[in-house]
Symmetry: D2
Subunit: 348 residues, 4 copies
């Protein structure tokens, strides 16, 4: 059994990760930290926790380093910078769910996060943990920068065609709709029930921090630096991200050929489902699962040229965070890739 | 008191219209038809109905024509075609909330609605009932084609700039998110609570019937025929439409100049609120009201050229249907334009 | 025009009160206080506010006293104690929406609210502002203690039979289900969207502060002191309270006779609707209205004796707070009782 | 591997059962029937279905009988009567999720379900499948009448004290709040999103068919025939039942003693969690799990005697239907009781 620890286990992401790990056949959770819940028994919250003596504990890196071989970090960005460095230097494997090691450029990081990156040499060691793109590198990595929720939905939706010459990068639009769990568990007026319920609105237009992450990965696939327009919206539901992506085309293509590219690209992927022609992804169809559903549509009406409309759906807490973290662990540790992750979407 | 009748009063739109008319100072509702509820007292449903003897009745045009001077039609498309013609020929004023008289071209109508238009000469008589654009024509009209909900949100969002030369029509994208009341009241599996709740999905991609209506009106404003991409989404809430619109630009502009255009264009409009820079429209902010909230953003990051991002929010049952119908009646009848329509959004 | 002021106008109750008053034909809102929003224009929030210069201001009693003749207090309990006293001594009329003047006994007050009542002599001056019970006293009152939301639903549901000898007071059970707006607008983790959504739970079992208020009024009607069991539940919706009440019977009665008592009791009441036999109140049927819907059922199956099951539905923010406050003002000021309150429930 | 079949697999309960069985380590699903979806591949819906050739098929009992040894019936009541008989006579084990074999008395059955029971001799063979009460009988049974959702929540909440002499049966009240999935998947106007959302209401007051089932089991525990009052309510959420139960007492008891009885009664039960004093069950805390959470409160304020308030929470589709069905199968087949059922509640 692999010994793992979760640092920051009392937020929605940490909680979901613990839930997944507790039913994982190959791991033992040996420590879970939470400043908020330190001292409380984990089995009080998680009835079938296999270790009835395990308690939430405070974040003491020295003693934690002795308890596990692989660490999941669900800490806020900035706090992760140093913790990753400490654990890496202690010879541990780290899967960091914060944004701290996702951007390859320390300059871009400080531009969007408004703080310097104090461990920039480590950025080169970190692998962007999207298994569908970086499986081989993940296998050998010591530091995984687990992708953001919006970027996961966008990159998986666009990856199969980014290398194709029919794709114009002028201008790709990503219009995303997210459930409210993405906003975290800390009390804040805009996320109170009566504010979110029965409403939909956009936020952080042209300014969301997931934008450079999407651009970094799509640019790498396209082998060309370019910008995208990313507009997130808040939806009155707990979980799920639906991204509707508009891709302008440089030349004529047929819808069925594009669909074939997607089926081909993801043919061996256990968690990406390219839907049949005309079917619509819905966040409920992937709820509580590690699946990403994708559909491709072609607008042939608009004037010069045409536009591809790609729609993807994920569960933001699983495929968009904790599920992919477990997926990365499986790859790094030589476990079956799907171990602990094959639960069917729960609907309704 | 103006005598008015509602034909098709037991759906969500008809019900909302009745609600608005019952608190209107200048009208008397003399008949409400409903095949479903024929024979039931209206005051059973609407406690303070000022006519305690009024019952839902069956749709009998001959007898109805004697009861009112202005008719609101909340009938399904196709059924409205003939009813409008009958009432027009009987010298009545008609406000048709169906799609039957919105499209100027009978050919485009039959292409999208899959039936012929049997009263195409009347299409020229019908005025597209968006007061912000056609106030003068509405004043003299006998037939009003009341706009669709999505088109209202899109056209109001884009009208102030369509005549500007910095706007490129290649390709304008309208990504709309709608509450579920737009789907009507008839039972259907996809709109059952457990299917809609906790989910978001797109539908009718590249194929929604409101597309040609949006294109007709934007093309008229631009004085150039062009197509748009319109993608509707279903949101787990009762009411509201948020439209996020992406407009490519032909030349450089400043955000504040565009905002000035909007403030200028709507400066005398009682129901359109152009929000301050940086504020976000939310459907909850216009719930149960006749307001349309609009914000303008400018993306300056994307490669060649820039993109305007316009966001508008309306209540689909009021500004997107029954409220505008009352607004049209007010204009046609010389009432104060805002009569019966100034209720403040109810939040939460 | 009656000059009125709202003290504490930025919570959900204050906001709803302002909304109602802005469409009231007989009043002018001359001041609205809010520590949170002091200095902001009210017309920024309320577009059609008839006084475009009015701003949210800080709570300065001396200057406020000059601005209005009737004051609505939407302050937290405890803060209201002194403010009511000040305004009363200044010769103003006060409608206090807090709990501070509802309980006749200062001892009971301090037992449940854990603070002394420092103005207990004024308790005798205060009239419990439930118009269906105290219309005559309200007319002459200077201090109105506006009822709590749960008590309104419970007392209206039980009042018509409390004087009947078939009612046993051993033990009346009130099981209430409330939307989340009752919890107020301040951020708190238990009322975050992801905590409330998709869940239902009881809270404050045997310990909710509305219990003594219900008991005081029911005991007065019964002319006998007794206790009830009151269990509130939190429901994932914005507005509405449904109370299901179980009343044990001392002797046999027929359902239709009880229904007649209810129809008789409320026959002149504009806001209470006793539903037809077999119909169910639903919070959606009274949403955004000042109505209280009531149905009566009789369980004839349970062993010895029988049990009446009374169900009532109100909008907690209107009939359960601000609507009744306006109703009280109408009565105190000699306005038409229904002025500003006859909006039909908005559904969906 | 045990071969099992699901008859009626396309409703919410059948779907959830299939989801649970697909991740169960000891069974193979060899057939799933659905008139609606006959001919469609199951793996189209359930990606990781371990049998990629399995299709939804029509209900043909003769051919089905050869395919499996244990059958789950998710058919409507009445249809189940005959199917159970056929399979029983064919020597198969049957777990019937309908109501057809739950009531021991054919007379009571026909009184509530308005049809005769044509296989009443089989009623004696059927075991009421609530493992916490009938584990030993379930082990040897061939026909399991799987409990209803409301009865599960009520019986588990009351079982530990029914044998105690401090409990009065005059009159126990069960006030239940249920999510909407309990109403099934077939389209019906009252369960449309816009009807259920933002509303709560009671239904079937004094007349719900789960009443005799609750009475049968509580009477058996009490060794005395008595009636209860059961009031179900519809809540705007997908899953979950919260039952608030009011139990009058014959003599004084202490809360802590009652809590001890509960802890004692359920000490070996893997799926019942008696919460700590003062904690509240919430449906979200058991969502997507087979757990039943229970809390006990004591009202000491009400006049003569006192009242126990018991609150229980379950997921209606799992502990209230499919999870218990799997639990019964595990017991009948000698599998580990918790096999396939230990998923932690998913929250949010």
């Amino acid at each position: 059994m692999l010994k793992v620890a979760i640092l920051g286990g009392s937020g929605y992401t940490g909680f979901e990760l613990l839930r997944l790990l507790l039913s994982h056949p190959e791991v033992e959770v040996t420590a879970v930290t939470s400043e908020r819940s330190a001292g409380l028994l984990i089995s009080d919250t998680f009835l079938h926790c296999r270790n009835p003596h395990l308690k939430f504990e405070s974040l003491n890196l020295k003693s934690l380093a002795k308890k596990a071989d692989l660490f999941f970090l669900c800490l806020p960005h900035k706090a992760s910078q140093e913790t990753v460095a400490f654990l890496y230097n202690a010879g541990k494997k780290v899967i960091d769910l914060s944004a701290d090691y996702r951007l390859k450029s320390a300059r871009v990081y400080s531009e969007w996060y408004k703080i310097p990156h104090r461990y920039s040499p480590l950025l080169k060691k970190a692998v962007y943990g999207l298994p569908e793109l970086y499986r081989k590198k993940i296998k050998k990595a010591s530091i995984i920068a687990n992708p953001g929720c919006y970027p996961t939905s966008a990159i998986l939706g666009l990856a199969p065609i980014m290398g194709e010459d029919f794709v114009s990068t002028n201008t790709i639009i990503i219009d995303s709709k997210s459930g409210t769990s993405g906003a975290g568990r800390s009390p804040a007026q805009p996320f109170m029930f009566c504010e979110v319920n029965e409403s939909v609105k956009a936020y952080a237009v042209t300014a969301h921090r997931h934008t450079p992450e999407i651009e970094q990965e799509l640019s790498a696939l396209k082998k060309e630096n370019f910008k995208v327009i990313f507009t997130p919206h808040l939806i009155p539901m707990d979980r799920g991200i639906l991204s509707t992506m508009y891709v302008p085309l440089r030349k004529k293509i047929s819808l069925s050929n594009v669909q074939k590219l997607y089926h081909q690209f993801y043919r061996h992927e256990p968690f990406v489902r390219v839907l049949q022609n005309g079917r619509y992804p819905a966040t409920k169809s992937v709820k509580s699962s590690n699946f990403c559903d994708i559909s491709i549509f072609l607008d042939e009406r608009s004037r010069r040229g045409k536009t591809l409309i790609i729609i993807s759906a994920i569960d933001n807490l699983i495929k968009g965070a904790s599920g992919t973290a477990v997926h990365n662990m499986n790859i790094m540790s030589g476990f079956e890739e799907t171990a602990g992750l094959m639960s069917t979407p729960a609907s309704p």
